[in-house]
Symmetry: C2
């Protein structure tokens, strides 16, 4: 007897049907879906089954759920490019600031900037061990700072920094302090910092990041991490940034600007 193929779950078949209606234009971009009780009645399934289907499409960024209002088809994502010149050795925090969109211009922009949210003790957590390994140090030799970058009145980037715990001004690590952590760290150490390497990955938001970024846990985050070093090659900083994947992407240009149809906007 051949291997029995398990039937596709009801909620996934339902998700597929909804996706088909979206693709076909039955539910156009921006429009509201029938309410959960309505879908439940139309397809003859329990409301929880409807919710399971809708939840999948929401995590896939196909639908947007507004509590108390309805569930809507997401219009094509307007994603924000953050240019990073691959040949440059310069930090790009400035381009992050200029690259991300402003919310509604003025009022909440007063809160924009990078803010220290925690000075976590470096106790052999997985992340701390990773950082120590990247910097070629023992975990006890490191200090760690976590920050949030707010832009347009919303938290956009969560960052963790690990540095050798040498002459770190306590002022730098005061929770709530605004500034530019990389520049401040370099200035405090009295050195210039260069990229050693940077890596890109993706991961679902954990509980802590989700709370800091104001997104549901499991939301796809773009992770950018790497080591910076002093001009003589000594590793001096390990940084790990998490950015809501739906609101930003990093762009590397390999040809001189103006060459072709670029990715910006």
């Amino acid at each position: 007897m051949a291997t029995h193929r398990t039937e596709t779950p009801l909620y996934r078949r339902l998700a597929r049907q909804l996706q088909e209606r979206i693709d076909a234009g039955t539910y156009p971009a921006g429009s509201r879906l029938p309410s959960e009780p309505e879908l439940s009645a139309e397809f003859g399934v329990n409301r929880l089954t409807v919710r399971q289907a809708v939840a999948e499409l929401e995590r896939a960024a196909v639908l947007e759920i507004r509590r108390g209002v309805g569930t809507f088809v997401r219009p094509p994502a307007v994603r924000v490019s953050i240019a990073v010149d691959p040949r440059s050795q310069r930090f790009d925090l400035g381009s992050v600031h200029t690259g991300l969109p402003l919310g509604t211009d003025a009022p909440e922009a007063a809160q924009d900037g990078e803010f220290v949210v925690a000075v976590a003790p470096v106790a052999g957590s997985t992340e701390d061990d990773e950082a120590a390994h990247r910097l070629g140090r023992a975990p006890e030799e490191l200090s760690r700072v976590d920050t949030v970058i707010r832009l347009g009145g919303r938290p956009r980037v969560v960052s963790s920094y690990w540095v050798p715990s040498g002459p770190l001004p306590a002022e730098l690590l005061r929770p709530g302090r605004p500034g530019n952590m990389v520049l401040d760290l370099a200035r405090a150490a009295g050195v210039e910092l260069e990229y050693d390497w940077r890596a890109f990955g993706a991961v679902g938001a954990d509980l802590a990041d989700a709370e800091l970024l104001g997104v549901p846990p499991g939301t796809a985050l773009l992770v950018r991490e790497g080591v910076s070093c002093t001009p003589d090659g000594t590793p001096a900083l390990y940084v790990r940034r998490r950015i809501d994947g739906s609101s930003a992407r990093f762009v590397l240009h390999y040809r001189e600007p103006g060459g072709g149809s670029g990715p910006v906007r």
Copy 2:
């Protein structure tokens, strides 16, 4: 009266408690959690509430659920570096092949390679319009090919290619054909291809990608996209790759190798 703060949902408080136990070592890495009925009894909540908590931690890559077996604490992720020289103009598909881990060496490796899964018609879908815009063409002028790269017996990378629909050998687009799509396309066109730009982003897997990659919809995927052009600067290829975020990351080296404690392995 001050604004009433909504109580944190039960399932999220439960998720936090489980996370705390993991951090504290009560549930060490690799260990099995109590079963759902056990957790349900211990915390005095419904099993569905337990499942909601566990599901969040699974999406955050904290837990790994093995059906019929149990739920386990994920050991620190062994992530695979895929080196991309930022100064190089060379394609990196080879480094993808050599960079990704082999499953259990021999048997299923016979299936490794890049395989055409679909030759989708280019009909003004959002993705098609995006590609057309990137290439400075009308959608009708483009051809599209979708492939899956299998390594170690598992699908690892889903790619979509858009090219001007000039002299495309039908042989190239035959579903199931193995090969190296970028090299084959370049050879077919009789030109060398260079990077124009590449971008990194993150997104939850949609239904189609989830099925091709064998992951649940909503899983965090690393997206790498960009345009390649001929030496004279004519855009000739738009490519968009999706990779399970938990199994790969891209690394950019800015200094000569051997300089510091690198990210590889």
